[in-house]
Symmetry: C2
Subunit: 462 residues, 2 copies
């Protein structure tokens, strides 16, 4: 029996506090047709399931809540509850994909079962098919987000052979074992004393519980941060979501990068800033300087050193320069702000976080969301995560993966979240929005692409 | 502003008590192709929406819960939140329809919006399409279940013209208005005093609240009822569902009816009894005499007088004779039990209930479920409802409706529910089951059909 970490527990608590939140992360992988049969797909997953023991474990809550929940084997595990098939209505394009993702992702996961779902999806345009993977944050904390790669994907068209499976569910934990864990909450008690010093935090209990995490340094300087200005991007959420995305060419991003001596990440953030600027203006709002602070895990690799394998990721909270009208000036503003944050190491935090490189698409997304949830929401408006993904083609049952669309959940008062993920030569921005207050996500999506196009058409660097 | 009836409120309470219950009723109507476009369908609904004001109203909860919730106009009403499109994966057959229905129906409705959803569904086999209508019980109490007929269906291939719409949402209720309703709970207080006399009821508060309903007589004799025997049909539920159904020919049912001098309802209940007998035996359980008590709204029309329009419906709680092996003897046992209940008027109750005739498919289903929820669950194992539906062909946007599949929710400890609905010359049994404990719904579905076939092949009446 393995207890949940305080961090994983915090995600459950966050859902308990907000009954309309669904803290699952996800991604839709799009594959060339013809689709395999659903039975064939289920067999494929079954053959690799032993690689991720957590996928056959569910939550066990300790008596009286005295100990952290634990992962225990699910004796009633039913693979076909977790792996589901569905289809898109015609034409199976972006609108239909977005609706499926927002519906599936906004539904809370069943706490009585292992906290993952795969939705095998037929009917995408051009004969393609998709796989929507949904994973609760409390699982992602242990699985490190590599599930999709272990269970589904291959680096070549020939699938790896299935692995041997001698799984037999272990019995439930004994009472004494549960009692032995009862000291868990007590060990966090000193931290609750410290919380008074942290100022007016929105969720002190949640923060206290999770502050033993690697990024704890971030919390100590939060009260010094300037709150975001009031815009329509922040406010109460309801339970339904919308999803949109846009793709840009990584070659185009690199062209802009070289022309202006910035990083790939700078270009991406400048495009996101331009998109939010468009969105605010289309809503008749002023794109003010402090409208939008983004939570950005950034690789600490120096520009030009990107071929060096280095897994260190820093977390920064830059203001996005939505107030800057000129595309190039906006890009340089992003660059300068990131540089300042790097140089000052303030409010940078969590620099010691280490990501699994290359094939770990979710880990930084997950970190970003976790931090976002722990931050008092007056400080962060949008979670933007930048995940460098695989550059070579991946396959599922011999079918080529042509796109990967990342999904981040939103909660509390953050009405729009943006996730970035790169695959081969494409950088994809996945945008999650509150259904009622963000009906215009496409304005943001188009604005991101337009901003990059503007940068690309600018011949002169600054 | 209109307050919810105590009955409608009781459905909300029932969901609050059991976080995994979803108390929506539903039906899937299957139409000949070609499917209209989704936009065309949405326009069709929009043109008739004024016919059901409740569909643009949402719940408003009174301060401190002192008054019953009220229906108020939803100023943010968004038709496309309620009318959704989806598709079935290939081959779009019974399995795929069943999975869609169980997934959609088991998801709780959003309490912050009008409590209905229509799922426009492409990809049914043979070029057909479907409409899954989902309606919360607390709405059904006011809408009388005729929504589908008002909003979607026509008696001829030519759709009725749209109606004028001058809807403008009324403002929220004033505080004084809310306070004026605060006496609501107080008026029910005398009933709570009476509850001690009712014996060991499972949900006294819920019962007390709803006992002003027309069927209150039923409650007074409940303690005298024998509890059902322990079988796998009763027990804890989790949140996921399964759905299956089977069709039989109404002509076949009538043939059996005439041969044995029984009613259509007797034949249907005998088939259900035979199906449950098969199910229990296939599970290695004894089909004991008191395994299964069904809650049956039965027309009080006398046999042979069925052409006389008479809307009176009685509610009975017969034991289903699952212990009887011979099909004909089983049928006659059903007949005798119903006759006894009719003759004794005990434990019959609610005889004064009046249903909207003909085109009101949901009303009796709804009554059945409501009673089922109010009954201490040791008394009722399965809700079986018998709804005589339309005999003539109906159309949606000029497309012929070829089938109608009813869905009843299950809750508390009832693991399988059966709903019956007739359309044209077909009687359809819709079966809802708990996902984990009822993986074998098809055994029940096949058993129902087999039981009727056995009766049909029996040449000699008793």
């Amino acid at each position: 029996m393995e207890r949940l970490t305080p961090l994983a527990t915090a995600f459950l608590d966050a859902e308990d506090v907000d009954p309309r939140a669904s803290l699952a992360i996800g991604s839709m992988a799009v594959f060339e047709g013809p689709a395999p049969s659903f039975d064939e797909f289920v067999d494929h997953i079954a053959g690799r399931l032993p690689l991720i023991p957590r996928y056959r474990q569910k939550l066990a809550t300790a008596p009286l809540g005295l100990a952290a929940p634990a992962w225990v084997d699910d004796p009633g595990f039913d693979l076909r509850w977790h792996v589901r098939n569905t289809a898109l209505p015609a034409p199976g394009g972006p609108d239909e994909i977005g609706r499926l993702m927002s519906r599936v992702m906004s539904r809370r996961m069943d706490r009585d079962r292992p906290l993952w779902e795969y939705w095998f999806c037929e009917g995408l345009a051009d004969g393609r098919w998709g796989l929507l993977s949904k994973l609760h944050h409390s699982v992602a904390d242990g699985v490190s987000g590599t599930d999709l790669y272990q269970l589904v994907l291959d680096p070549t068209p020939t699938p790896r052979p299935p692995v041997a499976d001698d799984w037999a569910p272990a019995g439930p934990p004994s009472t004494s074992s549960a009692a032995a864990g009862a000291a868990w909450r007590l060990t966090t008690a000193p931290l609750t004393i410290a919380r008074a010093a942290l100022g007016s935090l929105a969720h002190p209990r949640r923060l206290a519980r999770t502050s033993r995490d690697t990024a704890r340094g971030l919390l100590t300087m939060l009260p010094a941060l300037r709150p975001v200005d009031r815009t329509s991007l922040m406010g109460p959420l309801e339970g339904s979501r919308r999803y949109a995305w846009t793709d840009v060419s990584l070659d185009d991003v690199r062209t802009v990068r070289q022309r202006h001596g910035v990083t790939v990440n700078d270009v991406a953030l400048a495009a996101v800033s331009g998109g939010f600027r468009q969105l605010l203006m289309s809503r008749g709002e002023e794109p003010v300087a402090h409208a939008l602070r983004s939570l950005v895990p950034v690789s600490t690799r120096a520009p030009g050193a990107e071929s060096i394998v280095d897994n260190r990721v820093s977390l920064m909270l830059p203001w996005l320069p939505v107030e800057v009208a000129d595309p190039v000036e906006r890009l340089l503003a992003v660059r300068d702000r990131i540089r300042e944050l790097r140089a000052g190491h303030e409010p940078e935090a969590g620099g010691s976080m280490t990501a699994a490189a290359g094939l770990a698409p979710f880990a930084p997304v997950s970190w970003g969301i976790r931090l976002g949830l722990r931050l008092p929401q007056r400080h962060v408006a949008t979670v933007t995560t930048n995940v460098p993904g695989p550059r070579t083609t991946l396959y599922a049952l011999g079918r080529e993966a042509v796109a990967m669309l990342p999904y981040v959940p939103i909660a509390d008062r953050v009405r729009i979240g943006v996730a970035m993920f790169s695959y081969r030569d494409t950088l994809t921005f996945g945008i999650t929005g509150d259904y009622d207050t963000a009906p215009d996500l496409q304005v943001l999506a188009d604005g991101i692409s337009t901003s990059l196009a503007e940068l690309l058409s600018t011949r002169t660097g600054a």
